[in-house]
Structure formats: C-alpha cells, structure tokens
C-alpha cells in the first residue's frame, strides 16, 4: 500500500479544516479545541494538533491529507506534520488582508524547508469582497510559478480542482526528495 501525503496549511480561520472535510471520504479526524480568547469572535473552535482526511484512490494507493494548526502558538506541530509531504496547499481568506499577509509567514516557513510543489487556495471567493487571485499573488509576494487558484472550501468541486492542480504540478515538476512511503 502506497500512502501519499499532502499538507494543508495557512493562517487561522482560512479554511483548512473545511478544505479537508469537503474532500475526505472519512469524517475528518480533527483535534479541535474551543477557543477561550479574543479569537473566538472569528470562530468557535481551532485546530490544535492536526486535521486528518483520507481518500482511497485504489486498493494500493491512498491519499492522506494533513492540516496544520492555524494559530502560531500551536506551531510546534508544523515540523512534525510536514515530514514526507509530496505537495503543499496554503489556504488564505481572500476577504481578509491580514490573512493574506499572514500567508507569507506560512510560505516562508514551509517552502524553503520542504521544497515541494505548492498551490495557494484563495478561499471565500464566493464572497463579494474577495480579492482576485492575481491581487493575492501580489500581496503574498510569491514567484509567479506558484499558482493562486480561486477556491470555496465549502464546495467539493472547488477543493477537487485545487488538489488536481497540485498533483498536475507534482507530475510536471517531478517528485522532490525521497518520500516514497510504501509498505
């Protein structure tokens, strides 16, 4: 059985858990905790360790999707979760400048370390005040080779398109590193 791992990261409340929930065939194993601080006005619960989703491709191949905690105080998990990932999805809230600017920190942390293909999922594109992908690309200050895809993590088709593009990119660039995970 080959397990292929994808990492979903991004700022607090940018849609990581809903991204994984929408595509996973199993109920997402989510280590969420009720918020007690001022961030509660943004959302009720936050991921403290990881989110885990699974997609069975065939009897010999399974895709694991790991979501990192969004709040930096739980960032001790980032290193652990990133080991062996084939690709990275960074979610940002397209309606929130702060979320996009914070996205830079996640890119700065993961990209130099992992050197794996990456897609930016510009979430909440269904909302009227969402910034466009090219605006988000500029705000993130990323190389144009990193694609910013419009996304609505509450819609399965939208999440599917992001993952499809991520794997097409992995196929185009070739697998970086030796992450074969077979047993």
């Amino acid at each position: 059985m080959r397990r292929v791992k994808v990492l979903v990261t991004g700022p607090f409340a940018s849609g990581k858990t809903s991204f994984i929930s929408k595509i996973s065939e199993i109920p997402v194993v989510s280590t969420e905790k009720s918020l007690t601080d001022e961030t509660r006005v943004v959302k009720e619960k936050t991921t403290v360790a990881l989110d885990f989703g699974r997609i069975t491709i065939d009897e010999d191949l399974v895709l694991y999707i790991f979501g990192t905690p969004g709040q930096e105080r739980f960032s001790y998990m980032w290193d652990v979760l990133s080991v062996g990932a084939y690709g990275l999805v960074v979610t940002v809230d397209s309606t929130d400048y702060r979320s996009i600017i914070q996205g830079r920190r996640y890119l700065a942390f993961f990209l130099p370390k992992l050197k794996i293909p990456c897609i930016i999922a510009a979430n909440k594109q269904d909302l009227p005040n969402a910034l466009k992908p090219d605006e988000i690309s500029t705000l993130l200050g990323i190389d144009p080779s990193i694609e910013v895809l419009p996304c609505t993590t509450t819609e399965g088709d939208s999440v599917k398109k992001v993952l499809l593009r991520l794997f097409e990119t992995i196929d185009e660039l070739g697998i970086v590193g030796d992450y074969t995970n077979e047993n």
Partner: protein, 210 residues
C-alpha cells in the same frame, strides 16, 4: 457604490479626481506593474484630499508619480480606512497638475523609446564627448553594455520607469547611446516533465474522474 477596476479603464489621475470631487475618505489600494516589476501601492484620501501615498519603496509625491506611471494593474477603494502619517502637503490641484504634466511628457518620451525591452549601447566615440552628466545619468551609463534592456537596468537601479526613460531620452538626444536591438521577452519554457510517475498519474485521473 464600490470603486474598483482596472487602470486601463480609468487612470489613477481620473480616479483621484473622482475621489476628490466626491470628498471621500479612505484608501485606494493598488496592485500595479511597470518596468520595475509588480508592486503594491496605497493612496489615502481625507475628505477627497490626498494626504499620504506609499508605493514600492517610495513615499509621498514620488510614490504618487510611480503609481500614475504604472503600465497595468487594478485598484480598489476602501472607505474610511485608517490614515497613516501625512506625507503629501501639496494641494490636490497642484498634485494632479504635476502628475498630468509628467504623464504627457512620458507619452512624448515613449514615442522615442516605445518599449523598455530595447537594448542600447554607448556610442563608439563616447569617450570624446565633452558633456557633464548628473549622478543618475552616470548610474545609467555605467549599466549600458549593449546587452541589458532598459527594463533590466531600471530594475537593477530601482529607478522608476519615468526617470529611466527620461535619462535614456536625454542620452539619445546628445548621441551618446544608440539603439542595438529589441529583446524579445521569453516566457519561461515549461520544464520537461521528468519521469512519468504512475501513482501520481493515478491520483490525477482519480480527481479528473470525480
């Protein structure tokens, strides 16, 4: 009413005039591109008057001119955004007049230098010229090698497109440089797909079939 769009449809000067006339307070957020590459900018208005401008690494009037001379990009007005420290003290009339004047001059210069992809070299008898150049002109002259485009020199020196074109124009007028070629901007060629990885293709097929 939301004020957002592309600067190809409305120039920054036109938008500034609109905000001025309508006496609005807020921030005009810009995502622009010019010879120096992609950059962001913000123009802050208080009751229609521009009080603060920031763009790329510039502030004040320089930033406003950099914005008004961008080739392409988009804008969005955010009402009642926090206004930072004032760095524009010029009246709106004067600022718009100066910006319009520069824009007109820019158009004239661009007739002579229509593209920033042009490559220039120094005239063979450059050393014999008895001319006095300022520091910016010297900085540009030092970069002219018959290979770098105007855009590449602009980016390297961090000099706005307007300034660099004006300097090239002045050097052309006195005959110290000559046009060599127009470099075609190559799009990066897609890298050759490395080996086809069966299980990655399986995942791609899976998502395509969903």
């Amino acid at each position: 009413m939301e004020l957002a769009g592309n600067i190809k449809d409305f120039s920054i000067i036109e938008i500034s005039q609109f905000v001025w006339i309508s006496k609005r307070t807020g921030r005009l957020r810009l995502f622009l591109e010019s010879a120096i590459g992609k950059f962001e900018g913000s123009i802050y208005f208080v009751d229609g008057n521009i009080t603060s401008v920031m763009a790329h690494d510039k502030k004040g009037k320089d930033a406003y001119f950099l914005i008004t001379e961008a080739d392409s990009g988009s804008f969005r007005f955010i009402s009642d955004d926090t206004t930072p420290e004032t760095n524009i003290v010029t009246s709106m009339n004067q600022l718009l007049l100066e910006a319009s004047g520069r824009t007109k001059l820019f158009e004239t210069l661009k007739r002579e230098i229509p593209s920033t992809n042009i490559v220039y070299s120094l005239a063979p008898d450059f050393a014999t010229f008895d001319l006095v150049f300022d520091s910016n002109q010297w900085a540009v002259i030092a970069m002219i090698d018959g290979e770098k485009t105007l855009a590449e020199i602009s980016k390297f020196l961090g000099m706005p497109e307007f300034d660099i074109i004006r300097i090239f124009y002045s050097l052309l007028q006195v005959g110290v440089i000559k046009r060599v070629a127009v470099k075609q901007v190559k799009k990066p060629e897609p890298s050759e797909p490395k080996k086809a990885v069966g299980f990655i293709q399986k995942i791609i097929d899976y998502f395509k079939g969903l």
